[in-house]
Amino acid sequence: MEEDKREEIKEKKPFSIKRIYEKEYKKLLIIPFLMLVLALLFLGYYQATTGSMVNKGISLKGGTSISILSSDISSSELSSQLNYEGELNIRTLSSAGNQIGIVIELDTIDEEIVNNVKKIVEKEYNLNENDFTIETIGSSLGESFFRETISAVIIAFILMGIVVFIYFRSIVPSLAVILAAFSDIVITLAIVDILNIKLSTAGIAAFLMLIGYSVDTDILLSTKVLKKKEGTIDQRIHSAMKTGIMMTLTTVIAIIAALIFSQNPTISQIMGILLIGLLVDLPNTWIQNVGILKWYMDKKKK
């Protein structure tokens, strides 16, 4: 009698997150699916308005990037000094909040224009040859890098799917893992676009890494739910979650450290995208994948 009463009281508790999480998982599935649909719609809209789903940086569309180590060049001042007619983009490099350098991006690879820009900066700020890093990439190669890296992402995704299938040998749980990875990529890309981050080749590499990273927690979850026989499904999910969140947490901490201290654009971009991706992966693993798995296990029981 006593026991039953307590159960009843628990059931009636209006705002128990644990109860909602364990019992209302079907309704909760709406959240990740809504995120996915919104992201897809946004990307469609982005594609329609800008002509590409990706906000391409210099390394994916061609152009020149000039990096200088200097703490006293002001980007707004420089922009007026350069007086460049084409697309000009000036960013600062900073480490732990202090400016340590500046990056000038031009949409041209014309040697004369680039040299001119270099000369102006050289004169204004009293610099020499060794202070400059100049990277140029032709637009056709940039376009080809873009196509190539996109192909790489697609191939990687397919290979990952095959590995997951071979590993679990059952359709629904495998599809759930693949769907989670797909949602991670799509939602992360949408957020990257919203934040107006210009993707470089390194940025696309980060997406590849995300495929590897994000499925880790899904695999952990699926293994614990499907292969273990200990406890209830909810208990197994809880145990997987304890490990999974810890994994994400340590990675996120390391990434934040890297984001604060590393001023290098390549590293910052990889870390930034991974951070977004790992946060996006939380609902995709612990709501979406959990929901689908529970649904599948329920059906299997019946």
Binding site: L69, S95, I100, G101, N130, D131, T133, E135, I137, G138, L141, S144, F145, E148, T149, S151, A152, V153, I155, A156, F157, L159, M160, V163, V164, Y167, T201, A202, A205, L208, M209, G212, Y213, V215, D216, I219, L220, T223, K227, K228, E230, S239, K242, T243, M246, M247, L249, T250, T251, I253, A254, I255, A257, A258, F261, S262, Q263, N264, T266, I267
Partner: protein, 562 residues
């Protein structure tokens, strides 16, 4: 307690320890003062004294290290520049390195200027028609020579390396050029291009360069050239030019670069700024200088020349006799110079020819160094001949060593902070050093082994590779957490520790395979620009699952049992 703890007898732990020892041996950390020689300019004072650029694929610790200049010790690059600044013209300086000692004669830097006046000079010339010596009048430009300083001795140096790790271009500066053949070429042609480019850079004095074929998923072929530690504009031009050098008389090719050339003069008496032309001010405001150098032609080419000049008319201009056609020099289809041929060369199989060209700049000095740079470029191109096809520069990067140094410093700092913060998080979660210490040891040993592999294969450690290492260590920590949680779980069915480890490795191997295949396409995509990153990640996670993580499981199991 002298007894060896049981843990060190475990095969997995032994493998880990062996791997770390091998890695440290490959990295070979040392402590040495001095400056290492990166590049010796061809025919510079240092080169003439017998110093050469480092060999191809040389390891950082094999580079020759300058320890003393004139008996004064050189500890770092600042010392080196202070001592080099003091040198004077026509002195002998002694440079001692770790394996030799050299006497370098310093040469003056001479500026030759054209005054605008000409003088005439009478010279005795042998006339073939009359078979006698006759007096001939030559018109000569009046030039003045002034010594403007000490010629650079031609050494590029850097602070002596402290280990065998090769830093990538983005960390130590350098030039990276990606070339694409203008037409579809087969493997054979690509190999020839690589070989030719290598010879051309050698002729320029650069030995330690990376020239690699690469491709992409769509079947395009590229050639990647990387030269670490040097930022010279002319290198880019040297690589980018097809180098089709032709000398024509009346549109008939007399000789070309490569095979037709027997030797090229690089010494001061027959190459340099043209003493008869010198430097002068241009109407447009800048300056221009003329350079010259002598070449020796093969007998075949000389014969062709005699054929081509045999039927030419002799013209007389300003009292001097020339042949009716010039010899025109073309580089990649562009005329670089057109030279008068003296009448005495008519029909003669002359093997000694003088090549000339120009350089320009905003100031006299700039024009002079531009002319000399162009000369060296042309010499290297003429010596090694033309590439089989035209190459387009599709990507050119000129990377600053100063920026690279800063990147490296913060990368190290970042790694350290990341590792410490991860350690703190794990300590808070598990509240026992028995988990944290193995995690830190395991991550550090993964890092050391990865660096060791890089040192062993002599691959460049660039930012992308560092990003790869960060990922590897990151997945490593994730896997260690999986192992720890399994071992700590109070699962009654699988209470056996071995079973728990097996179950953890089931998850870890799945994660490993997915990361592995996710990175695989990147090895082949996009001209191999992210190849270093993909490969580092792939071999890194492989080392992780094969060596460090199994050992970690054994160590934690051992510590928990205690």
């Amino acid at each position: 307690m002298i007894k060896i703890p049981k843990i060190f007898k475990n095969i997995r732990v032994i493998i880990l320890i062996l791997a770390i020892i091998l890695a440290v041996l490959a990295i070979k950390p040392v402590s040495q003062d001095g400056v290492a020689i990166r590049f010796v300019e061809k025919d510079s004072a240092a080169n003439l004294a017998g110093i050469d650029s480092p060999e191809k694929n040389s390891r950082p610790l094999d580079h020759e290290i300058i320890t003393h200049i004139n008996g004064q010790s050189v500890k770092n690059i600042e010392d080196y520049f202070l001592l080099i600044e003091e040198i004077e013209i026509n002195r002998t300086i002694r440079i001692s390195t770790n394996d030799n000692s050299y006497s370098i004669k310093t040469l003056p830097k001479v500026m030759i200027e054209y005054t605008g006046n000409t003088t005439t000079e009478i010279k005795e010339v042998f006339d073939e028609k009359t078979n006698s010596t006759i007096n001939k009048t030559f018109e000569i430009n009046e030039t003045i020579e002034t010594i403007i300083g000490v010629a650079e001795i031609g050494l590029t140096v850097y602070n002596a390396p402290q280990n065998n790790l090769k830093k990538g271009l983005d960390l130590q500066g350098g030039v990276r050029v990606l070339l694409q053949p203008e037409e579809q070429v087969n493997e054979d042609v690509l190999n020839r291009i690589v070989e030719n480019l290598d010879q051309r850079l050698n002729a320029f004095g650069l030995n330690d360069v990376v020239i690699r074929k690469s491709g992409d998923l769509s079947g395009n072929r590229f050639i990647l050239v990387e030269i670490a530690g040097l930022q010279k504009k002319e290198i880019e031009e040297l690589i980018g030019s097809q180098g089709k050098f032709e000398a024509k008389i009346d549109n008939n090719t007399v000789f070309t670069g490569g095979e037709d050339i027997k030797n090229i003069c690089r010494t001061a008496d027959c190459s340099g700024i043209d003493p008869n032309q010198g430097c002068g001010k241009l109407e447009s405001g800048g300056y221009s200088c003329k350079f010259f150098f002598g070449i020796g032609l093969s007998a075949k080419a000389a014969l062709r020349q005699s054929e081509a000049t045999k039927n030419l008319d002799v013209l007389t201009e300003n009292g001097q006799q020339y042949l009716s056609s010039n010899i025109d020099l073309f580089l990649d289809g562009q005329e670089v110079n057109s030279l008068r041929i003296g009448s005495e060369l008519k029909g003669r199989a002359e093997t000694q020819i003088q090549i000339s060209g120009v350089g320009s700049g905003d100031s006299r000095e700039e024009a002079m160094s531009d002319a000399l740079a162009n000369m060296k470029k042309l010499q290297a191109i003429i010596q090694t001949g033309s590439l089989p096809v035209k190459l387009n520069i599709v990507k050119a990067d000129n990377l600053s060593p100063i920026l690279g140094k800063e990147f490296l410093r913060t990368a190290l700092l970042t790694g350290l902070i990341a590792l410490i913060s991860v350690g703190i998080v794990i300590l808070i979660r598990y509240r026992t050093l028995k988990i944290v210490i193995p995690v830190i040891i395991s991550s550090l040993s993964e890092l050391v082994i990865l660096l060791g592999v890089s040192a062993m294969f002599g691959t460049n450690l660039d930012l992308a590779a560092i990003a790869g290492i960060i990922i590897v260590v990151g997945t490593g920590v994730d896997h260690l957490i999986v192992i720890a949680d399994e071992l700590l779980s109070k699962d009654s069915i699988t209470s056996n520790l071995k079973e728990k480890i097996k179950s953890a490795f089931f998850i870890i191997m799945a994660a490993f395979f997915t990361t592995f295949v996710a990175m695989l396409p990147l090895v082949f995509a996009g001209a191999g620009i992210l190849r270093g990153f993909a490969l580092t990640t792939i071999y890194g996670v492989s080392i992780g699952v094969l060596i460090t993580r199994p050992a970690y499981a054994v160590i934690v199991e051992y510590l928990l049992k205690k």
